[in-house]
């Protein structure tokens, strides 16, 4: 009896990424979330293009700043009153698809402009916090001992500070503005990621493949970045998507309180704030941004949970 046959796996080859995609695909809610997420992204992108004044002569395609007092507080799907509004100020298609606010500004245009703000604030702030979190969490998890202790106590201190009030304080002292918001949210939101990454590193450190890498004589840096980090990112991705949702809500809250992006730039929170006074007269001013925030946050959360399941190695197929 000879073993002359060389062995190999029988099934078609799949990268771990493809495996994860397969699992994600089966989760309908997560897929719906992802679809909405992509739609939202495209809409925001379209919004920037469409609401910007690219050409000073022609103005924006859908100008969110045009004030038409004649047409204020019109409900959605109202035709523009052509007699009172000059031609240059008319909305696209002549219809206010989502109505107008107290200054006659087209709500749809403002929503589109605000979408971009929500998106950038979300991504940049979360990107910053994830970068900080991976760095600190990786250090704490890999080196352990006093490095770990110092970093984790720092995390504990930061967690004691109520984030929202810290942001308000900073913004009140140094003024608002989109960049400041992104920065402040970013540097106050990294604690969760740090914990996740640290936990993953702690458990990865014990895995035999890390010991194998050390036995091969690989440098610490190579081990951290090539071996451990790619395996530690799954919970980070999940918390990042959920973090984006949270940041959008946060920005809306800040704008609602008047601490957000300065006028006349629209954000969803601002539209909510403006609509507060007219809740019963013009409910669409509240429901439109509110509903939009709900959908976006919900879809991000569902997508994030789907990612968590997709990256869960226990759901994977295994060889015999």
């Amino acid at each position: 009896m000879t073993e002359s046959k060389l062995q190999t796996a029988d099934k078609p080859s799949r990268t771990p990424f493809q495996e994860s995609w397969r699992i994600l695909r089966r989760n309908r809610l997560a897929m719906a979330g992802m679809v909405f997420f992509i739609a939202f992204f495209l809409l925001a992108l379209a919004g920037v293009i469409v609401t910007q004044e690219w050409d000073l002569r022609r103005g924006a395609v859908m100008d969110p700043t045009t004030i038409r007092l004649a047409d204020k507080l019109k409900p959605p799907m109202t035709r523009c009153s052509e007699s009172d509004v000059p031609a240059t100020d008319r909305p696209l298609f002549g219809v206010y698809l989502l109505g107008t606010d107290s200054l006659g500004r087209d709500v749809l245009s403002r929503m589109l402009q605000g979408a971009w703000v929500s998106l950038t604030v979300g991504f940049v702030a979360v990107g910053l916090s994830v970068a900080i979190g991976i760095f600190l969490g990786g250090l704490a998890g890999y080196f352990g001992r006093w490095v770990d202790t110092i970093i984790m106590r720092f995390v504990d201190i930061m967690l004691c500070i109520p984030r929202f009030f810290l942001i308000l304080t900073v913004l009140a002292l140094w003024g608002g503005g989109i960049f400041k918001i992104m920065l402040v949210v970013g540097i106050t939101s990294w604690m969760g990621t740090t914990r996740f990454v640290r936990a993953e590193f702690l458990s990865l450190r014990r895995q035999d493949f890390v010991t194998a890498a050390r036995a091969l004589g690989l440098s610490d840096l190579r081990i951290i970045f090539r071996h451990m980090l790619p395996n530690a990112l799954a919970p980070v991705l999940v918390s990042a998507t959920i973090g984006i949702a949270g940041t959008i809500l946060l920005e809306a809250g800040l704008s609602f309180l008047g601490f957000g992006v300065p006028e006349p730039h629209a954000t969803w929170g601002k539209i909510l704030d403006d609509g507060r006074k007219y809740l019963f007269d013009a409910p669409w001013l509240t429901f439109t941004p509110g509903f939009a925030i709900l959908i976006v946050v919900l879809s991000f959360n569902l997508f994030g949970e789907g990612l968590r399941d997709a990256f869960n190695p226990k759901l994977r197929e295994r060889g015999a």
Partner: protein, 331 residues
Amino acid sequence: MGGTGKLLDVRDIRVTFRSSDGPPARAVEGVSFALDAGETLAIVGESGCGKSVTGLALMRLIPSPPGIIETGQAILEGTDLLTLPEHQMRDIRGGKIAMIFQEPMTSLNPVFKVGHQIAEAIHVHQDISKEDARTRVIDLLGRVQIPSPAERFESYPHQLSGGMRQRVMIAMALACNSRVLIADEPTTALDVTIQAQILELLEGLRDQTGMGLILITHDLAVVAGTANRVAVMYAGRIVEQSPVAELFAKPLHPYTRGLLKSIPSRNVGQAKLPVIPGTVPEASNKPAACHFHPRCPYARDICRQEVPELRKLSPGRLTRCWALGDWLDEE
């Protein structure tokens, strides 16, 4: 050896696991055997052969999607376990028929004291006061040879070693006077010296209570030391059934023969171990007809075309092979 009549009569169990994408996995394909009171039947096989699934099926513990017990009967003292409604099965599970597993740490709840957990098992099946239950538990802990049982009653699982936890699991099975105990790899996770103690304990208890013991394992040496009869499984089917001495002396199935030959302790002084080439097939992708034929040195055309049935060759010896007779002469 027991022999007061069949305690457990298992007939043609088939268990399949459906998968959302891909073919179903036929984990158990027509397994039948009988267990007498006071005897140990070992079900031996490598991973993926379906031995654990068989044990879980008898306990009706197969997770129901995705697993289904498609057919079969398991008759214990007149009742078919596989067709009982769930609430009646719950009365029997842990009572008349009990199971212990490989990893006692995960079988015990870490937040309750072990005494409490055993007592809970008693309370589920019997109406008994707390004090009486406690006395019984301490008595049981003594019977499984746990030192200082009264103190151990108050221990948490993490305070006990692997061997002791396994004894606690055995105590739970004894607590309700089980007639059949299924032990699924009970000593695989234990050190050799502890393994020997546990196996002796199981044998002793079996003799004392007259219960039937189904020992599921991959370790042929364990089987040799403690089983009365052996059923060898491969890829979901029983390929050989035999009293233990005859199985080791003269295996009838090429798979059994290959397994025995590859054990290092039977090859003392040889440089190279004889091996069975290839690997165990996956449950969802088994070779047609005889599942073993791709790896079998005696395979012939009929092996690829028709499933061999389990045939009786001599009293108590069954085997599932077409090439029989011929290769035995070659030996």
